[in-house]
Amino acid sequence: MANTKFLVVDDSLTMRRIVINTLKSIGFENVIEAADGKDAVAKLLSEGADFLITDWNMPEMSGLDLTKWVRANGQFAEIPILMITTRGNKEDVIEAMKMRVNNYIVKPFTAPGLKEKIDQILKTVGTGAA
């Protein structure tokens, strides 16, 4: 699990740094980053990843569109996706769940909160449950 390769996607450099630092503080050192959905697609195709953490509001390609692309792409269709966003409305959460994100965090997030969600997802993926 510690070798899980994360792809962190956010148009904010600050947020990418914070998420990456938090991942490293909880034991996940293998992390790459992308500045928007389009960049994320390129990184997935060239470098691959085991776990996607993505923002929603981004230029070029939103986190939701990225999720749609990933779920429609045979090679990456089942990789876990965690949405971290400022959007906290019920409708937004449901829309993301419809796109099959595995879980959803509202910014500002906490380190324990992120760890909890990642652990839950990795455990679920490990058991093959939805």
Binding site: P59, V93, T110, A130
Partner: protein, 239 residues
């Protein structure tokens, strides 16, 4: 022989035709409005000219805060690295002190065995021990380093405010731009002489880069509510 009819005009109903006085007054009012319209036009021109500058300044604020935030994150990372190194050094020092304490205990035993033959050595040794030759480290040093690391982490997490305020500022810029576009339309209509109804400005379609309703709240309630929505969704769609 026909009678010549006198053509008598029907009297005009009262108020149907403006009098000369009222016409003069009307012309005065219209003459007064024209410079006022000119003044409004000049004001609008000045305002629409200032708005791009305001938007640019907001953009500059966003860039400056992002730059400063990244600098702070760099410093926090360096600080955390140094604290980790200090913690490692402290742990090595404590291990070394414990090893030394164990060696001293062995020496205590050996010297005690000389008590009858060499009491002077025993006395000197006891004096030496009483002076505190062993290293004493504060018990909670590692705990303090841990607390410093945790505080540095908390500072880093609090800097998420920069991303959230950037989105709020983007929302304001978007509104400013929509006002500018509508003012520009009104200005154009004044120049062209066409009437344009002044309704609430219709904002241009948002480009999806930002969430104008982003909020910075440390309350755990937002995440709790989100978790409930997610759990309910999963229960409802997993059979």
């Amino acid at each position: 022989m026909g009678k010549k009819r006198n053509a008598v005009a029907a009297p005009a109903p009262q108020g149907a035709w403006p009098t000369r006085d009222s016409l003069d007054k009307f012309i005065k009012v219209v003459s007064g409005v024209i410079p006022l319209l000119d003044s409004i036009r000049e004001s609008l021109e000045e305002t629409t000219g200032s708005i791009p500058k305001a938007s640019q300044q907001l953009d500059n604020v966003t860039r400056a805060t992002e730059s400063a935030t990244v600098e702070i994150l760099d410093l926090l990372e360096r600080m955390s690295g140094r604290v980790r190194s200090l913690g490692d050094a402290m742990a090595a020092l404590r291990a070394s002190a414990e090893a030394e304490a164990a060696r001293l205990e062995v020496l205590d035993g050996l010297i005690a065995s000389l008590a009858s033959t060499r009491p002077d050595i025993c006395e000197r040794w006891n004096e030496h021990r009483a002076a505190g030759c062993g290293r004493c480290l504060p018990a909670d040093v590692e705990e303090q380093f841990g607390a410093i690391s945790a505080d540095a982490m908390s500072i880093g997490m609090a800097l998420q405010v920069q991303d959230i305020t950037t989105q709020q500022i983007a929302g304001v810029s978007h509104m400013i731009e929509s006002v500018r576009m509508n003012l520009a339309e009104v200005l154009q209509s004044l120049v062209d002489g066409e009437k344009v109804p002044l309704t609430a400005p219709a904002a241009p379609a948002p480009d999806g880069h930002f969430n104008a309703e982003a909020e910075y709240s440390r309350s755990p309630d937002r995440q709790s509510t989100t978790d409930e929505i997610v759990e309910r969704w999963k229960r409802g769609h997993n059979g």
